[in-house]
């Protein structure tokens, strides 16, 4: 029997590489439904929903990876899964955004004495000058 055709699979997330290697078939949870991809699939780009990506490697083993969502890119000889590490949904994201806004508002409410930008720059310049002086002192003392 001739060598079975394989396709290169890379699964990466923002926080690290998850899997890289050849595969006979990849099954992924696309946003429109489960999707099975064999080598020489037509170029395809789709979003993934939360679920598991199954990779059948040439040695007959099957690998399972959980993804919280993400994107799937298929090129004739290569499959790239851009996986989310986070479980995300529109309302979850929305809640996180609202929380971030609230934190900012709270921080602004007790913002003590206001200073102007010029004063802030002057304060920074002073700090920088102090650092420089310390450096010089250290050199002097050798």
């Amino acid at each position: 029997m001739a060598e079975a055709a394989t396709i290169q699979v890379d699964i990466v997330s923002a926080e690290g590489e998850i899997y890289s290697g050849p595969a006979l078939e990849v099954i992924a949870p696309a946003s429109q439904g489960e999707l099975g991809i064999h080598p020489r699939h037509a170029p395809l780009l789709t979003l993934l929903k939360a679920g598991e990506v199954r990779v059948k490697s040439p040695d007959g083993e099957e690998h399972f990876f959980f993804v919280g969502g993400g994107a799937l890119e298929v090129q004739p000889r290569k499959i790239t899964v851009l996986a989310d590490t986070a479980l995300r949904a529109r309302d979850l994201d929305e809640a996180a955004a609202v929380a971030a806004k609230q934190r900012a508002e709270e921080a602004l409410r007790d913002r003590g004495s206001k200073i102007t930008q010029a004063e802030a720059l002057a304060e920074l310049a002073r700090a920088a000058a102090q650092l420089k002086m310390l450096e010089r002192l250290r050199k002097l003392r050798g």
């Binding site: 926080e15 170029p43 789709t46 890119e73 790239t80 994201d93 955004a97 921080a107 003590g112 920074l124």
Partner: protein, 284 residues
């Protein structure tokens, strides 16, 4: 022996300070290595993302994140550390942000901030600039989950036309000795050079291209902010390592000087006592 006791206490106190700074230096060194590793791990995702977006932009898909607009309002996401004792790291980032703010205000644009990290919040909340979102306490291992909400506030503002530009300012990790503030334009996404892309094929899109591009661009920006946060941690640890190393050296020098003073004082006391005894014996 008057005075020597004070010197001894001083030496003991400097020694205990030195122990702390040495420990902090070692902790920072190991944390820096781990942060560098995470920086390396985040790279393939961003690269692959860039490739895919590069393909997409060639396929003539339009999206507000890709179209430059007249800059009337500018957003700046600034990443700072949560804790101090990191040399001039934060001060440099603040200065860069203030300069950027001034530059855009000079061009007549409104500037709003999004602050990541306690130090930045404490500094900028005294300024008269609107803060749209903030997140603190990311720790030494920032997670993308903690950033999603904060970034979304800025992206939504951009979508609604409340912002026309979005920048990211963070400390760039050049090497262990050098960290410098870095400004990167996040939105509109600058055209990506897609090398080795001569093939003229288009994808099958599921669902339509716009929805995919939207999801991808959002994740791309988030991953950039995540990268900035991780890089900032690496810079923080490197800066702290150097600062604490210098502090330990200085403490060592101080101990040396104090020891010398102490020895002199001790010797002076002994000499004095001896001469008193000799003087007393001669008088008898």
């Amino acid at each position: 022996m008057p005075g020597t006791k004070e010197i001894r206490t001083k030496i003991a106190s400097v020694k205990s300070t030195q122990k702390i700074t040495k420990a902090m230096q070692m902790v920072a060194t190991s944390k820096m290595r781990r942060a560098q590793e995470r920086m390396r791990l985040a790279r393939p995702y961003a690269l692959k993302m860039r490739n895919v977006i590069g393909h997409l932009t060639q396929a003539q898909v339009r999206h507000p994140f890709l179209e430059p607009r007249e800059p009337k309002a500018v957003g700046i996401i600034m990443i700072s550390t949560d804790r101090g004792l990191a040399g001039g790291l934060n001060a440099n980032v603040f200065k860069q942000t203030l300069l950027l703010t001034r530059e855009w205000q000079g061009k007549g644009a409104q500037v709003s901030l999004c602050l990541i990290g306690t130090k930045g919040l404490n500094f900028f909340r005294r300024l008269d600039l609107p803060i749209m979102a903030n997140v603190t306490g990311l720790g030494d291992r920032p997670h993308i989950n903690d950033l999603i909400g904060t970034v979304k506030v800025m992206l939504d503002a951009y979508r609604e036309g409340k912002l026309d530009r979005l920048f990211l300012v963070n400390a760039q990790f050049v090497n262990t000795m050098t960290q410098k503030p870095d400004v990167q334009q996040l939105l509109p996404v600058e055209p990506m050079d897609t090398e080795g892309l001569q093939e003229h094929w288009d994808y099958i899109y599921e669902p339509e291209a716009e929805a995919i591009l939207d999801g991808l661009l959002m994740r791309y920006i988030e991953s950039q902010v995540y990268r900035g946060a991780v890089e900032n941690v690496a810079s923080e640890m490197a800066a702290r390592m150097i600062a604490m190393g210098a502090a330990s050296d200085n403490a060592g020098k101080l101990i040396g000087e104090l020891q010398l003073i102490y020895n002199k004082a001790r010797q002076a006391a002994i000499t004095k006592e001896l001469s008193e005894i000799v003087g007393g014996a001669a008088a008898v």
